[in-house]
């Protein structure tokens, strides 16, 4: 625990942890120190000078964003002097800012507007300036209008911190402009369209492209939910107007490294209304899919399930909700009475790896990536890539990468051990032990034969020097990687789907056939729930597809049940750090589509067994079962190697194909080919 510091701000006693800056310290007692360029969780740069405060005994005003609280300080945040300087800066900025608050989309959340109001500036006292820079609106995601820019450089700094490094100032002073390399439009730069710059822009210079006349902040209802597009399961805050999603922002707390969203999470929501959205049940009649009623569809499924009985196989993706998974399990166990129930998780992970404990990324000072390759550009676990880079750039964390390939993130690693992950883990473990660090006896014995390389010795120094390492491993390598955590730190298996851990914890662990067998072994009936990484119809007599979109698989189905998307359902997931996250319904399911749970209950009903709703307490109980890491031999789980990029791509195919992300993919392919 950090030391606590006592100081006085505007006469109020404040107690904060050592190292807290004055803006954050004041915030704890409800005093807002104005600022335009400060970003919580990142270093202050003192550009806007709005946060100037006066310290008792100090000569000149000091900037609050970059001054750490010291014992016994007495700070005045609102003196005549600093008020005048603040007013002066806002006055100057207003002289070069369009005064069109009446039609500005950012009205209501614009910091400049707020400060102009606070400092009673109706109109700038200075000469009106206009630079006539063109707007970059050549992409369907982010609109950049330099006319509104207040030169706070927040966008530049967030982009650098997360490692995308697309934006930079061109020029100095008033005429400065935020540009990409060669001032190219965003799509011709290395931009990933994650939109995190939009989140931090205090004014209307960066905005979601489709926001014009779609309401302003006060028109929106905010709903917290989770993005289920990949293994990161990022928290999101959805803005809703008239029952429709208008925009999605990161839902992680301000200042957290986890405050990150990628393009899929932020802009993929149009897919809910896309062309391929399934809104009515469909049934194959005379070889063609035809629309049908729910009653008919459910009755058909029930009848087919009854006939298939124990030779039924249920497969689901790893991004259905806990409630859905638990209900599906009940349906399989209690109603259909089959043991063949499995999820896509078994394609890339053993079940026990999914019980891994949690870890604290926000305070980690070392990340060890074992066999995983988070990559914002390929959008494989993009948030993890962003978080690690942010913690490195802003928090001084270190990074060890153990990988047999050449992942992009290795280029920023403190040390990169290239080679077979198990061998590298052994070498690293032995190197750490050889430097005299305590380790379990079994481990010392198991590694006695290993002769660590120089690289491993260097990496060991980094590991030993860290206080709170977090080991993030591919599920197949989790057991071996967790051995390192017996020396120090926490280990976590990082799956490729948002609720992989939850699905396994809810009992979707097959005692019969596993996913890959189900697909190929001729089950009488295959009931597939959610997006599937399958192009071809599984070998089966009857195929039921329950999904939100018309996928390749769905076109080959005998029966299609339209399911609601994540933003149309209530429930929970367990993310890669083992945290239970609440998914909240933002809008009503499109057309006649229904929540997965409802469909399962209707099917069970039709088969004569009423299933009760899954209780929250049951889910909480299931989530609590965490296995403690104990020593396991350094081995990799066999037969679970999949291409993470391809798999991730397959799992979000509908989202991409039915939204403006398709444009992005085409542009990116066009650039890279």
């Amino acid at each position: 625990m950090a030391k606590l510091i006592n100081l006085k701000i505007d006469g109020k006693d404040v107690q904060v942890a050592e190292g807290t800056n004055l803006i954050d310290a004041a915030e704890t007692v409800g005093i807002h120190i104005p600022n335009l360029c400060y970003m919580k969780g990142m270093k202050g740069i003192g550009a806007c000078r709005l946060c100037l405060v006066e310290a008792e005994g100090g000569k000149a005003p000091i900037i609050a964003c970059n001054t750490k609280a010291k014992e016994g300080m007495n700070i005045a945040t609102n003196t005549e002097k600093v008020r005048e300087i603040r007013k002066f800066v806002i006055d100057l900025i207003l002289s070069m800012h369009p005064l069109d608050c009446m039609t500005c989309t950012k009205a209501g959340v614009c910091n400049l507007q707020q400060y102009a109001y606070d400092f009673e500036i109706k109109e700038s006292n200075f000469t009106r300036k206009k630079f006539g820079y063109p707007t970059d609106e050549a992409n369907p995601f982010i609109k950049r209008d330099p006319e509104y820019c207040v030169l706070c450089s927040r966008c530049i700094r967030i982009c650098k911190a997360q490692g995308t490094n697309v934006l930079e100032f061109s020029g100095r002073g008033v005429g400065a402009k935020v540009v990409t390399a060669n001032d190219a439009p965003l799509q011709d730069s290395t931009c990933t369209f994650c939109g995190n710059c939009v989140d931090v822009c205090p004014v209307n210079a960066l905005l979601e492209s489709d926001r014009w006349r779609k309401g302003r902040e006060w028109d929106y209802e905010k709903v917290d939910s989770v993005c289920l597009s990949c293994g990161n399961g990022c928290s999101v805050t959805v803005s809703r107007k008239d029952g429709e999603v208008v925009k999605i922002n990161s839902g992680a707390p301000e200042g957290a490294a986890e405050r990150f969203l990628c393009a899929v999470g932020r802009f993929g929501f149009d897919s809910m209304k896309g062309d391929m959205r399934l809104t009515v049940p469909m049934k194959r009649v005379n070889g063609e899919l035809q629309e049908t009623s729910w009653e008919d569809a459910i009755a058909t499924v029930a009848e087919k399930l009854r006939a298939a009985g124990s030779e039924t196989a249920f497969i689901s993706s790893g991004n259905i909700l806990n409630e859905d998974a638990a209900m599906l399990k009940k349906l399989a166990d209690d109603v259909v009475k089959t043991k063949n129930i499995d999820s896509t998780v078994s394609l890339y992970s053993g079940y026990d790896a999914m019980n891994s404990a949690t870890a604290d990324l926000e305070n980690a000072d070392l990340f060890v990536l074992v066999g995983i390759a988070p990559d914002q550009w390929k959008r494989v676990l993009p948030a993890l890539d962003g978080i690690v880079r942010k913690r490195m750039n802003e928090g001084g964390a270190k990074l060890l990468v153990l990988n047999s390939g050449e992942p992009k993130i290795a280029s920023v690693a403190t040390a990169f051990l290239k080679g077979d992950e198990i061998k590298m883990l052994e070498q690293l473990g032995q190197a750490v032990i050889s430097k005299g660090v305590k380790a379990p006896k079994e481990m010392i014995e198991a590694l006695a034969h290993v002769n660590p390389s120089d690289d491993a010795m260097n990496a060991a120094d980094v590991f030993i020097a860290s206080n709170a390492p977090v080991i993030l491993a591919s599920p197949t390598l989790y057991k071996a990687a967790a051995d390192l955590s017996l020396i120090k730190g926490d280990a976590v298996a990082v799956p490729l789907e948002a609720n992989a851990k939850g699905v396994v914890l809810m009992g979707m662990t097959s005692e019969g056939k596993k996913f890959s067998e189900i697909v190929s072994s001729g089950a009488k009936l295959v009931y597939a729930v959610g997006e599937m990484p399958l192009k071809d119809r599984p070998d089966t007599g009857f195929l039921v597809v329950q999904n939100s979109h018309m996928t390749d698989l769905a076109t080959q189905a005998d029966l299609i049940l339209p399911a609601a998307t994540a933003l149309e359902t209530d429930g929970t997931i367990v993310d890669y750090l083992g945290r239970l996250k609440q998914v909240n319904k933002v809008c009503e399911p499109a057309g006649e589509s229904r929540q997965n749970t409802e469909i399962f209950m209707a099917v069970a009903d039709a088969m004569g067994t009423a299933l009760k709703k899954v209780k929250d307490t049951d889910i909480r109980k299931a989530v609590k079962t965490k296995t403690k890491a104990s020593f396991a031999s350094f081995k990799k789980d066999k037969g679970l190697d999949i291409d993470a990029e391809q798999f991730t791509e397959d799992m979000r195919k509908s989202t991409i194909n039915c939204s403006r992300l398709l444009w992005l993919r085409e542009v990116e392919r066009g650039v890279t080919v």
Binding site: I85, L92, N125, T127, S170, R172, G173
Partner: protein
Amino acid sequence: MSGTPKKEEAPKKDMKDVFAAAEKVKCPVQKSQIFVEEFLSEPMCGKCHPCALGTYEALVRLKRISAGLGKKADVAAIQRIADDMLEGSRCIKGKDTAKFLLEALKTDAFREHLERHCEDRECTALILYRVIPEKCVLCGLCKDACKYYAVQGEKKVSYRSGYLPFEIRQKRCVKCGDCMDACPYGAIEVIEEKSGVLV
């Protein structure tokens, strides 16, 4: 590794050069304008708002004043910019600029310029060049020196009479001072614009 544009080369001019450039003139308004212009041209780093935005605004106001279009509000704005920059800007460069402006503001020059009066006769908008007819010997040296063909008159040829003294056409005159340097008889003077007559 990154695709961002290259950082500009390190500034070549520093504050010393800025001070030196301002020393070349006497009029406090001119001095301030040159100082700020030179400061903006390179040493200004643009890392904090009071300086980056303030000096630019100050230059706009200074130009207005030296052009004889200044109002009281312009002087007040410069005063405010200088005061706030002194307290608010981040580094010594901004504070030096503020101090320089404050020093200049202490003189009467700014107030006088509002009345279109430049004591040092350096603000070109406020002055006129004139040939003193009594002193002019019609030698034509000024006419040869003027790059802008602003000097009018006929060179005297011996034993002829009926000449008029040389005159400067104000519409063409750019107030460069070349004619003054060329005249060996001191027959060209600078007068205040408001007392002059346009030719």
